[in-house]
């Protein structure tokens, strides 16, 4: 079956203008925000659950894989189109399903379509004193559907939890074209927690078409502190000591010297230009607890050698400090044409040691390194800076990345804290999971997608297929 007939059928089911197969569109949708590239056969933009169902049915009937996609801000290749059986996949983009369907302020729940942007949701409900807690740095561009697929995090997940804790129910179009409602608005829906399994499944189990998200009351008291240090070790120790003191800030972010330099050159936030490391710490809640936490954090930072601790005087200054933190990736273009951002997690007590080892790896590979990350969670984001036009650079970048992941795993860490496995890290899954661990994950996926029609080649390494179910023996316990 040629792709022309697939496109023709898709155009019959959706509007012709929302099914694209031109060279420009196909090249735009061949990538996400990672360095990996794929190839799509067609890209469609459904506007309803029914259109998603139709697109899925058509693609699958023609033997095509389906690759779900939101805004394409993912960093691990999860939305990079890879087909199966030699056929390029159909990409289903959810960005035109961008309505907030219902907000229930009393229950603190909203139903949204998957293409709603993370920050648009928070902005739409802020007048109610509520917000959507997951706040990835890409929040002005990424979609809630993408957040669900990746179980996205963000700085404030330290206190508020990752996306999974903020998703109550998901309407999902399955690989067979049917829709299922997973989870519910009540606290203990019947059956196994398929909602919990679906969140973070990176498009391998279906496409979310409606999502019920939990809305979080915004705290009346907020303190934002910026501490600067003359050594990375001192900052890392401060992180561990704050957590050990029983203080869980709303967010605790670390930025290293190179990051501070880059931000100051582009944004002039007022970060001390000679700092070796800075901590941006936010605590929120009621007045007394917030004040007590802020003063504990200040004392701990000072005891670990902080040169200064600045407290944001007002909302404007707070916004400026956060803008500095979240604008990292645009500003990097000032010092290097390319970067490779990693995402691993280590136990918080191992931060200082792991950071030193990552620095050594970058040095040994003659690569510039920049660190800006969710220190309170132990969620590292080492950024390797390079110019890919220099021959041999990409090989050094990939090798350094692999060694960094290994160091984190050896320190008792995991492969990814919030960016996902995608295509990027499937080969490393056996570093943290045994064959039987991976087999159990494959079985869960196969309950949703027995023929691997949805986002094949992602998350699980090659070979994790749905084995034929053994025939059930006589006298089985059913």
């Amino acid at each position: 079956m040629t792709i022309d007939s697939v496109v023709r059928e898709l155009r019959g089911a959706l509007h012709a203008s929302r099914v694209r197969d031109g060279a420009l569109e196909l090249s735009l949708y061949a990538r996400d925000a990672s360095v990996i590239e794929g190839k799509a056969a067609a890209v469609c933009f459904p506007v309803s659950t029914e259109e998603v169902q139709a697109a899925v049915r058509i693609a699958v009937a023609h033997g095509r894989a389906v690759v779900p996609r939101g805004s394409g801000t993912g960093l691990s290749g999860g939305a990079v189109p890879r087909g199966s059986d030699g056929l390029d996949p159909v990409v289903i983009v959810t960005t035109k399903m961008d309505r907030i369907l219902e907000v229930n302020a009393e229950e603190r729940v909203a139903w949204v379509e998957p293409g709603v942007l993370n920050l648009d949701l928070t902005n739409a409900i802020s007048h109610l004193g509520l917000h959507f807690a997951p706040d990835p740095s890409s929040q002005s561009a990424c979609t809630v559907g993408g957040n669900v697929a990746n179980n996205a995090g963000g700085p404030h997940c330290l206190a508020y939890g990752v996306t999974s804790a903020h998703v109550l129910a998901v309407e999902v179009v399955l690989p067979n074209g049917e829709t299922a409602l997973l989870g519910g608005l009540d606290p203990e829906p019947p059956g196994y927690d398929l909602r919990g399994l679906f969140v973070g499944s990176e498009g391998c189990m279906g496409i979310a078409t409606r999502i019920a998200v939990r809305l979080t009351p915004s705290a009346p008291a907020i303190k934002t502190l910026l501490a600067d240090f003359t050594s990375l070790d001192d900052a890392a120790r401060t992180v561990g000591d704050v957590i050990a003191a029983g203080v869980i800030p709303a967010a605790m972010e670390m930025m290293d010297a190179r990051f501070v330099e880059v931000i100051e050159r582009s944004l002039h936030v007022g970060f001390p230009p000679d700092a070796a490391a800075m901590l941006l710490v936010e605590t929120d809640g009621l007045a007394a607890g917030t004040e007590a936490a802020a003063s504990a954090i200040r004392s701990i930072a000072e005891a670990n050698g902080a040169r200064s601790v600045r407290v944001a005087a007002d909302a404007e200054e707070r916004a400026l400090l956060w803008k500095g933190r979240k604008s990292a990736f645009g500003a990097i273009a000032l010092i290097a044409p390319n970067y490779y951002l990693h995402d691993t997690v280590v136990p918080r007590t191992r931060l200082a040691e792991v950071l030193r080892r990552i620095n050594d790896i970058a040095d040994a590979h003659q690569l510039a390194l920049l660190n800006v990350f969710h220190a309170g969670d132990g969620n590292l984001h080492p950024l390797l800076l390079f110019d890919k036009r220099v021959a041999g650079t990409m090989e050094r970048v990939l090798d350094a990345g692999k060694q960094i992941i290994r160091v984190c795993v050896d320190a008792g860490g995991v492969l990814s804290g919030e960016h996902g496995i995608g295509l990027e890290k499937t080969e490393f899954m056996p570093w943290i999971f045994s064959g039987s661990d991976l087999d159990a994950q494959a079985r869960a996926r196969c309950a949703f997608d027995p023929e691997h029609r949805f986002n094949p080649h992602k998350v699980l390494p090659a070979g994790s297929q749905c084995g034929d179910l053994r025939s059930i023996p006589r006298g089985a316990w059913t």
Binding site: E107, S201, L286, I432, S436, A440
Partner: protein
Amino acid sequence: MRTLDTPDAALEAFAREIGPRDPVTPRGGRTQWDVGGAPDPRAREVSAPSGIVSYEPADMTVRVRAGTTVAELDAVLAEQRQMVPFDAFEPARATVGGVLAVGRSGVRRLRYGPIRDSVLELRFVSADGLTVKAGGPTVKNVSGFDLCKLLVGSLGTLGIIAQTVLRVQPRPPAGKWLVGEADPFETRRRLLRPSSILWDGTTVWVLLEGHPADVQAEAASLGPEFRDGEGPPALPTAGRRSIRPSQLRDLTGSFVAEIGVGVVHTTDLVPPRGIDSVTMALQRGIKTRFDPTGRLNPGRSPEGLS
């Protein structure tokens, strides 16, 4: 710390005891033994090993074997002013594995979230008799599919929980139960992060936790309808309903409801709810793939799956 398999001989011995063939039913402290139906009498009872494997207060994580009682874990965490908000009915008997297998959260869910969100890693014994790891030991992790969520609340029908890594929390420095007669929904609106609000149709019980000055200030803000009191009230155990929090105001009869959550403890039995056919096919698909011969806790099943 090893990564692939932190060695734990007790866990391996438990996997051997379970083996790959005959029907087994996991037993914890038997405090919620009636949930999900009676186990097939021909199934062999197995009990997970107990004990705390490792505890890093500064990481705020604890690795514990499933047979450890909630009280034992709580005592060790309390020494470091930390906790996991299990709030089990009978903590001296209830086991960590049992609470997770049943999956019911305690009365402080309103503030601390469901118990499944405290689970970072699970090691369970599969129907093949193999130890399987789900999740990972760090406080944040999206490496692979989240099988922990499937196992919590699965009543031992997908795998038998042997060990877990839990996220712990700081123990709040102050806590106070207040009792009064008021509109429980309005009470919730006035509070930022109450730990619990319970209502029996007349009386409201409120648990405030946090900095002592905040607890005092929030208690005062509730007005003269509330006085310091004892809590929580005795919770009826015959039935348990799960409804949307906004539907709680229509409740009648004898009950204690968790405001803002939607769990209702009742004196009447509550009939199980059904599951629509599409979702049911997924649910059954999960069970068949994890336990093809149905040897894991036969007779029992989560609500809607029997």
